[in-house]
Amino acid sequence: MNLHEYQAKELLKRYNVPTQEGVAVEHADAAVAAYKQIASSTGTKFAVVKAQIHAGGRGKGRMKEVPDQSGVNVVKSAEDVERVAKNILGNTLVTIQTGAAGKKVHKILVAQDMYYDGPSERKEFYLSILLDRAKKQNVVMYSTEGGMDIETVAHDTPEKIFKEWIQPGFPLLPFQARKIAFNLGLSGTAFKNMVKFVTNLYDAYVGLDCSMLEINPLFKSADDKILAVDCKMNLDENALMRHSDLADMRDKSEEDPTEVEAGEFNLNYVKLDGNVGCMVNGAGLAMATMDMIKLAGGEPANFLDVGGSANAQTVEAGFRIILKDPNVKAILINIFGGIVRCDRVAAGVIEAYNKLGNINIPIIVRLQGTNAEAAQELIKNSGLKVQSAILLSEAAELVQKAVN
């Protein structure tokens, strides 16, 4: 589950991880009030306004409706804040990560400007914590090259990326925290602050059950503070059962509405751009079915795993969800019946089909496994315009005919 920057920063504070302070607001007048409060606490007129969406590249991104407005803006006055807030709120931000459609902005974060002058040089670093699947350990990945796209850094100058693997069951050890601070070239107060920062950040990563935590830029201010200027946090959805407060932070407006609806029926659905819809039991078989659609000359319109119980209700919900997509020209249902009997699934398909009425596109049902022949008989005798197959290769041929 993705979080917004402002939510992630709130959570980091619980673990005493310093962040750029700010207030998230939904209206321009609230933005002005937040600005005045920040300006009086920092004693400067500078502040930053940041669009809150689940995508990166906001600084370089532009508002669709106000093309010269960026998603991140330094402001110097209450008038500035009001103008920028009105430009961004309710409008659509297009960044390199959102695709051409962009994302509607419902919230902005009005935050302190940390790039003030002072006795030492300002620096931007990169740091992230994630799971190294191959080593089966968490890893802290960091670099002196902050504020940039880390994949570019990894590709062009791999020697500038450091990694520190963490022993499972242990915190980030003091020597590891020191190593990180030394490798980032720090000394004195900034060094001490960095040691505290990374130690607490790792505790936050584990304590919140993050699947990814990225601080970019990780910032050293001109007075040697170390803090998170931006934060991207991903939570492990499997762990939300022990963090009900975090589950409440989910922003469904950031997700595809059809995917949200599917989730309510316990269906695992991912929308794609193709013309053949599919409904399958099991994630691996669902992916394999998508691949088969492509090989048969179609393009998969979705991933849809109906799970272990392919009954009339789930099939009906699946039909409704797939049929919302106007690009869909055919639907393939592929169920390997093991514990779930194929004749029951077939009865469910027939019931759902009749209930929905006007389905004007070809439906191909491939049922294999327990009672597959009985299922095929049921479909044949139903009088519906449903084609049936038993072998996967037969289903592929039917898909080919349907798309050509």
Binding site: L131, R133, A134, K136, Q137, N138, Q167, P168, G169, V206, D209, S211, D236, N238, A239, M241, R242, N268, V270, L272, G274, V280, N281, G282, A283, G284, L285, A286, M287, A288, T289, M290, D291, M292, I293, K294, L295, E299, P300, F303, D305, F336, G337, G338, I339, Q368, G369, T370, L391, L392, S393, A395, A396
Partner: protein, 292 residues
């Protein structure tokens, strides 16, 4: 004996008296699996499915001599169940549970490393040695006995592969569902290695999916150890990057964990890679005919 389990394996069920545990234990017993008892904390001393229930895995091992365990414990407690089984001396731990927090599995994997055991899963359909023992949730009748080993990250796709193998006139020695989570006990390479060393297996089907590097690791090992034909398939050729496709581990994170990248390295290492999931059985039959 094929690999991992056989008719002599003494199997206990953790989460024995729950809905899932009861249903699948019944199916396993019907298949002929030697289920010797089960564990449900605070129900020790009672009997379920005509077998003894114990409070702890230790009690169950002491009472029955069990060497294999299958876990149907809910996600919040499943990693603990894995560690308990390892600590009690269970040799083969098969964890079916889906939805275990990743950090729990990072710890559990580390904990069992120093114990003499093998973990299969989690988030997997289990293991079946055809005609001998089923320690899992798969439909047993699909797996007709024979000499082909299957290793797969997916449940229904394993059944599909087994069904094709049988329809191609062959059969299954053992099928291992290794699971679709980011952290699992037994890797593709370890499973393939077991089959390569098994005198009762003549050919291996290796089914992977997007995400991670396990298939590439297995392929590199196979390059120097290809003593039997291996047929491979990777699900998710059409999956978009950055999206989780059902399984927690099935997500394209970079250039190396796409289906195309995995299929390329598998081909280069001598695996018979099929583009279509409909050709798995047929290709195995052809590969065996060539080697014979």
């Amino acid at each position: 004996m094929a690999v991992l389990i056989n008719k002599d394996s003494k199997v206990i069920v953790q989460g024995f008296t729950g809905t899932e545990g009861t249903f699948h234990a019944t199916q396993m017993i019907e298949y002929g699996t030697n289920v010797v008892g089960g564990v449900t904390p605070a129900k020790g001393g009672t009997s379920h499915l005509e077998r003894p229930v114990f409070n702890t895995v230790k009690d169950a091992v002491d009472g029955t001599g069990a060497d294999v365990s299958i876990i149907f414990v809910p996600p919040a407690f499943a990693a603990d169940a894995v560690m308990e089984a390892a600590d009690a001396g269970i040799k083969v731990i098969i964890c079916i549970t889906e939805g275990i927090p990743v950090q729990d599995m990072v710890k559990a994997r580390e904990y069992i490393k120093s114990r003499n055991c093998r973990l299969i899963g989690p988030n997997c359909p289990g293991v079946i040695t055809a005609g001998e023992a089923k320690v899992g949730i798969m439909p047993g009748f699909v797996f007709k006995p024979g000499r082909i080993g299957v290793v797969s990250k997916s449940g229904t796709l394993t059944y599909e592969a087994a069904d094709q193998v049988v329809k191609a006139g062959l059969g299954i020695s053992t099928a291992i569902g290794i699971g679709g989570d980011p952290i699992i006990g037994t890797t593709t390479k370890e499973a393939v290695e077991m089959f390569m060393n098994d005198p009762e297996t003549d050919g291996i089907i290796m089914i992977g999916e997007i995400g991670g590097t396990m298939e590439a690791e297995a392929a590199k090992w196979l390059k120097d150890n290809m003593r039997k034909p291996v047929v491979g398939f990777i699900a998710g050729q059409t999956a978009p990057p950055g999206r989780r496709m059902g399984h927690a581990g099935a997500i394209i994170g970079g250039a190396d964990d796409t289906a195309a990248a995995k299929m390329k390295i598998m081909r280069e290492c001598g695996i018979h890679v099929v583009d279509s999931p409909a050709n798995i059985g047929k290709t195995m039959a052809q590969a065996l005919a060539v080697t014979a």
